[in-house]
Each structure stands twice: as structure tokens, then as C-alpha cells.
């Protein structure tokens, strides 16, 4: 017996699964913050401010 509801849910879930997998594989959403924090531009911004002292 053909289960139309079961087939529809399975098809929809598998299409969603494929595109989510594609997005995850392509975009590395969990790897991005770690990579950004190690970037040199970010490191410069987060450096402590220099204290300028008068010598003369």
C-alpha cells in the first residue's frame, strides 16, 4: 500500500537535509568564529591601547 503522506514527508525532509548539508559543508558556520578570532586584523583591533608618556 502506498503511503502518500509518508512519501511526501520523506521527500521534503530529504530535500531539506540535502540543502542544509550543502550549506554546512560550504559555509563552515561553526568554524567561522574561531578563524576570525585568529585573524591579524582582529588581533590589532583587540590590542590594548598604548599609553603615551611625555619624556621632555
Amino acid at each position: 500500500m502506498t503511503s502518500h503522506h509518508g512519501r511526501l514527508y520523506a521527500l521534503a525532509a530529504s530535500i531539506l537535509l540535502f540543502f542544509v548539508a550543502w550549506a554546512v559543508v560550504a559555509a563552515h558556520p561553526w568554524a567561522a568564529p574561531a578563524a576570525a578570532s585568529s585573524g591579524s586584523s582582529v588581533r590589532v583591533v583587540t590590542l590594548p591601547p598604548l599609553v603615551i608618556t611625555r619624556t621632555s
Binding site: 509518508g6 530529504s14 537535509l17 550543502w22 554546512v24
Partner: protein, 183 residues
């Protein structure tokens, strides 16, 4: 200039999709056999089980086709048919090819159930466990995303869920068969 990574990304995404669909089909088969959810109609579960296997085969076809079209691992059409013919990670890729071919065989056997007999069909269906094991080994050893925590979690979740469902099937009391009446 960097090569277009589209086929490579689709190959990886379709491989993971095929693995999840295979897992779902195995779980549906185990649910059909042990029936832990009494509300589900066995005929509907059987049809969904079969349809999930078909979707999994579709994802495997996409996986193979995009690996051929992409130049990252340099696979040949022969390597996609003959296990062990791949120059890239020979054994794990060979296991994947073998798993896909066995999956086609088991899927085709649905239609030949009457011709080959229910007993032989059941015996052939035991190959599903070998298919799942080979697909897991293929994914873990040949998949380039395996070191990522999310990919490893997918494999761990699949192994855990199939092991739990198989244990349920083994230890749950057998289903009561309808009593045959003497004619």
C-alpha cells in the same frame, strides 16, 4: 584562479544525505519489525522504509555523478563500479561502492520477493546490516568532513540509533502472529 567548488560541495552534501537516508531506512525497517509505536500502520511504515531506500539510492547516484564531474579526487567511471579500483583511499572508497551495489540489490529484491521466495528475500535483507557497516566505514575513512565535530556527531548518532533499534528488535518480545484456522 580557483576552480569552481560546486560539484565538490554537492558531492560531500549528497554523500552525507545518502548516509542519513540509509540510516532512516534501516531504522524504519527495524520499527516495522519490532513495532515500538503501536499507532503506526505497518503498511505505511513498510512503504516509507522502501521509499527512503529509493531516496538514498538517488542521493548515492548524485554523490557518484558529482565526484566524476569534480576534479578533486580524480575518480573514473570504473572506480564507481568496481570496488577497489579507486586511486583515492582504495579500501574505504571500495567499501562505499560495495555498499551502494548491495543496496541496489536489496532494493531490487523488493520487487522480486515472490519470485525468489520470502525466506530467501529475508536472508538477503540481512545484508542491510553489512551495507550500513560498510557505509559507516566509508564515510568515516573516506569522508573529508569526518574530522569536523558535526560530521562525527552524525556518524555517532547513526551508529547509536541503529544499535539501539537493533537491540530493541532482539530483546523485545516477539509479535503475536494471527492464529491459523484449520480448514
Amino acid at each position: 584562479m580557483r576552480a569552481d567548488p560546486t560539484f565538490w560541495l554537492i558531492a560531500r552534501a549528497s554523500g552525507l544525505t545518502a548516509y542519513v537516508l540509509l540510516t532512516a531506512s534501516v531504522l524504519a525497517g527495524l520499527v516495522l519489525k519490532s513495532r515500538p509505536f503501536r499507532g503506526l500502520r505497518p503498511a505505511a511504515v513498510a512503504d516509507t522504509h522502501r521509499f527512503l531506500a529509493l531516496l538514498g539510492l538517488g542521493a548515492i547516484a548524485l554523490h557518484g555523478a558529482t565526484l566524476l564531474l569534480d576534479g578533486t579526487v580524480h575518480l573514473t567511471p570504473v572506480a564507481l563500479i568496481a570496488p577497489g579500483a579507486s586511486p583515492y583511499r582504495r579500501l574505504p572508497v571500495g567499501l562505499g561502492v560495495l555498499a551502494a551495489e548491495l543496496m541496489v540489490l536489496v532494493y531490487v529484491s523488493f520487487a522480486l520477493r515472490r519470485a525468489i521466495g520470502t525466506r530467501n528475500w529475508r536472508r538477503l535483507h540481512w545484508a542491510t546490516y553489512a551495507i550500513f557497516a560498510a557505509a559507516t566505514a566509508h564515510g568515516l575513512a573516506a569522508g573529508t568532513d569526518t574530522p569536523q565535530p558535526w560530521a562525527f556527531a552524525i556518524y555517532l548518532g547513526a551508529i547509536g540509533s541503529v544499535a539501539a533499534a537493533a537491540a530493541w528488535r532482539s530483546f523485545a518480545p516477539p509479535l503475536t502472529q494471527p492464529r491459523r484456522t484449520a480448514r
